[in-house]
């Protein structure tokens, strides 16, 4: 156990406390001379921080001799521990008082006359629950100053925006579990689907337009995710999946989260409206509204939130398409439809394993309230995906090769959807969820490779 750096440049209590601290330091210095070197230099003039006091007390408890009848109690049950912690501070005072006779007289302490008065009422009790002191000190070490460090800000804002596709590094906290929302519902996914929509649109690929769409959608997604986290702090705290989010950990204030969201939303939507086209801008704004003001509150009110959330997920590729073509046509709707249907096996499978957390946290999810419906809907939409892949060439989005080569993966996800429907257990839900994670990118990639080029013969008129 190391003292944190700032407590080393600390100050000493005068009086009996000072004498005891001095003694403790002497003892501790034998074991760790360097740590307290400059503390000893300031021994008569300064005040020690409470953390330093705790550190010394801990060192004392774990290292000093047993002549003071130190007893180690077996680790108490949680219900008892608040009581023990309450009394342990009094006992710590008592143990400090016991140390007083060993204070060397060379240290001039102005409060010496009062020390006797302090000590008399305290019984020299046996030190109990040294483990409690260790536990309490450990708990106190976990307190963090709510000071915004500029170096950490990019990482914090990235987590606020749910940017990363994979688990990000958050060293002091336990690693996030695999089924983590951060890994899936995030800005990277949104931006990828938008890019796919842009690329699939039957228009010449314009890099500047693409970049503007990319950035604009990314900013809009960051804004939406930040507001979502802003609304959900106490709920996120109570769910394993989301308890390491920046607002929950106090790394930023709600005001900063809202400001960040505004600073992302305004340029993002402006970029889409004036840099790309008004339709895309309007869709972006609508999506932010849908996600923050409809989906997020609805999660706690009705299972309809899943359908609203599916629409939220379906809009980005439509935005990509409208950014490229400037119009909302059948191809855009199909692409939106594919993303919409994909959300159900993905989310329903994910939510199957989180029923306890949803129930305790008060979230209205199909997996809790209507489990049969949950599985039915997941299967239904797996089959809808298959059907829409067949419709893709009919709408001139892709060639007829596409439904053929996409058939294996569509059949596989439908099979897993069926297994989930029939078995209704954690294993089948996890399999379906993980399948959905690779199914979507692969499907979009296949669509891209089978994209119907301009001027090719198709069933419909070529798009301009």
């Amino acid at each position: 156990m190391a003292a944190s750096p700032h407590t080393l440049s600390s100050r000493l209590l005068t009086g009996w406390g000072g004498g005891c601290i001095w003694y403790l330091e002497r003892r501790v210095t034998r074991e760790s001379p360097r740590r307290f070197l400059h503390l000893l230099r300031n021994v008569n003039q300064q005040w020690v921080t409470f953390q330093h006091f705790n550190f010394l007390r801990h060192m004392y408890v774990t290292q000093l001799n047993r002549s003071l009848k130190q007893q180690i109690k077996p680790k108490p049950e949680p219900a008892e521990s608040p009581f023990l912690e309450k009394t342990s501070l009094d006992e710590a005072k008592a143990e400090i008082c016991e140390m007083r006779p060993l204070v060397p007289p060379s240290l001039s302490l102005s409060r010496k006359p009062s020390e006797k008065a302090l000590i008399e009422p305290e019984p020299t009790s046996v030190i109990e629950g040294s483990i409690d002191l260790g536990k309490e000190t450990k708990e106190e070490k976990q307190w963090k100053e709510m000071k915004l460090r500029v170096d950490d800000l990019p990482g914090i804002l990235a987590r606020l925006s749910k940017i990363k596709l994979t688990g990000d590094s958050s060293p002091p906290e336990p690693p996030e579990k695999p089924l983590d929302e951060n890994k899936v519902k995030n800005t990277a996914l949104v931006v990828s689907t938008t890019s796919a929509g842009f690329a699939l649109a039957p228009a010449p690929f314009d890099w500047s337009c693409f970049l503007l769409t990319f950035v604009g959608t990314g900013l809009a997604s960051c804004a939406a995710n930040s507001i979502n986290q802003f609304f959900e702090v106490p709920f996120d705290s109570n769910m394993n999946r989301t308890k390491n989010r920046p607002l929950v950990r106090g790394q930023i204030s709600p005001l900063l989260a809202v400001s960040f969201a505004t600073c992302c939303a305004v340029p993002g939507v402006a970029l889409l409206t004036w840099g790309v086209n008004p339709l895309t801008g309007a869709l972006g704004l609508f999506n932010i509204f849908l996600y923050t003001c409809c989906y997020t509150p609805l999660k706690r009110v009705s299972i309809a939130n899943t359908w609203v959330g599916a629409v939220v997920g379906a809009i980005p590729p439509v935005m990509g398409w409208t950014a490229a073509t400037g119009s909302l046509d059948a191809g855009a709707c199909l692409l939106g439809g594919i993303l919409y249907s994909w959300q159900f096996p993905h989310f329903n499978a994910l939510s199957w394993g989180l029923r306890e957390d949803y129930s305790r946290g008060g979230y209205c999810m199909m997996s809790v309230t209507h489990p049969a419906l949950c599985r039915r809907v997941a299967l239904r939409h797996c089959l809808a995906l298959l059907a829409m892949c067949v419709a893709a060439p009919a709408l001139d989005v892709t060639t007829w090769t596409f439904p053929v080569i996409a058939l294996p993966i569509n059949l596989y996800i439908s099979y897993l959807g069926f297994r989930f429907y029939r078995d209704a257990d954690r294993k089948s839900s996890r399999k379906l969820f993980f399948c959905s994670l690779w199914h979507l990118p692969l499907l979009l990639l296949l669509m891209l490779t089978c994209k119907r080029r301009a001027g090719e013969e198709g069933t419909g008129a070529p798009q301009s």
Binding site: H6, T14, G15, W47, T49, F50, Q51, P78, P82, E85, K86, L89, D90, K93, S110, R111, S114, A117, L118, I119, P121, E122, E136, E139, E140, Q142, W143, K144, E145, M146, K147, F230, F231, V233, P234, S237, N238, K243, V248, R249, G250, P254, L255, V258, P297, R300, V301, R355, E356, Y358, S359, R360, G362, Y363, C364, V368, T369, P371, A424, D425
Partner: protein, 192 residues
């Protein structure tokens, strides 16, 4: 030099000297603990020279992280209002979630016990571990618990949104006030 203080208020004095009025203190903890929703107030006191709030580890019962609010010497009325609102919201949240989580665990235990009994099984398995029901059996409990607490959550949601907006709004006002004070040093408040 610290003035004389009686022994039992020594800890009080220590904390107060270090961090001001907001420090939560061991002697008062007994009165603050409630059986229905124990809050297990931490006796943590931030270092004296810190001028920021401090946030602690998640509470055992509510999973919420307690914040120890810093009280500056020249705290304006608006800042005080914000701090009090945050403190009160923190306590309200703590109360709700500790209560909610404890109720959940208690009812879950009762459910498991009653189901095991209905099945004629022991509460402990042969290896001595607690017997559990599988996820599908528990699902019934989760559904029932959610619907039972639906109304409670509705009220909580409404209040939480209101408070969250109010806190953020006041944070904005305080931030603007501070910026204003920095830009207009002549009009710096001396009253508080």
């Amino acid at each position: 030099m610290a003035p004389r203080r009686p022994a039992k208020r020594l800890v009080t004095a220590l904390c107060r000297a270090f961090s001001g009025r907001g420090c939560q203190l061991a002697p008062k903890r007994g009165a603050e603990r409630r059986d229905a929703a124990p809050s297990r107030v931490s006796r943590f006191c931030p270092p004296r020279k810190s001028r920021h709030d401090w946030i602690g580890p998640p509470d055992k019962y509510s999973n919420l992280r307690p914040i120890h609010f810093y009280i500056p010497e020249n705290e304006s009325p608006l800042e005080q209002k914000l701090r009090e609102l945050r403190q009160e919201t923190q306590e309200w949240n703590q109360q709700f979630w500790a209560d909610q989580n404890l109720t959940f665990h208690k009812e879950k235990e009762e459910f498991v016990r009653s189901r095991l009994k209905a099945k004629g099984l022991d509460l402990r398995t042969a290896s001595g571990q607690k017997a559990t029901l599988n996820a599908e059996e528990m699902a019934e409990f989760y559904k029932e618990f959610l619907s039972k607490n639906f109304q409670k959550h509705m009220y909580y949601n409404r209040d939480w949104y209101k408070r969250n907006f109010a806190i953020t709004f006041f944070m904005g006002k305080v931030a603007l006030e501070r910026i204003w004070n920095k830009l207009r040093p002549k009009q710096k408040k001396t009253s508080s």
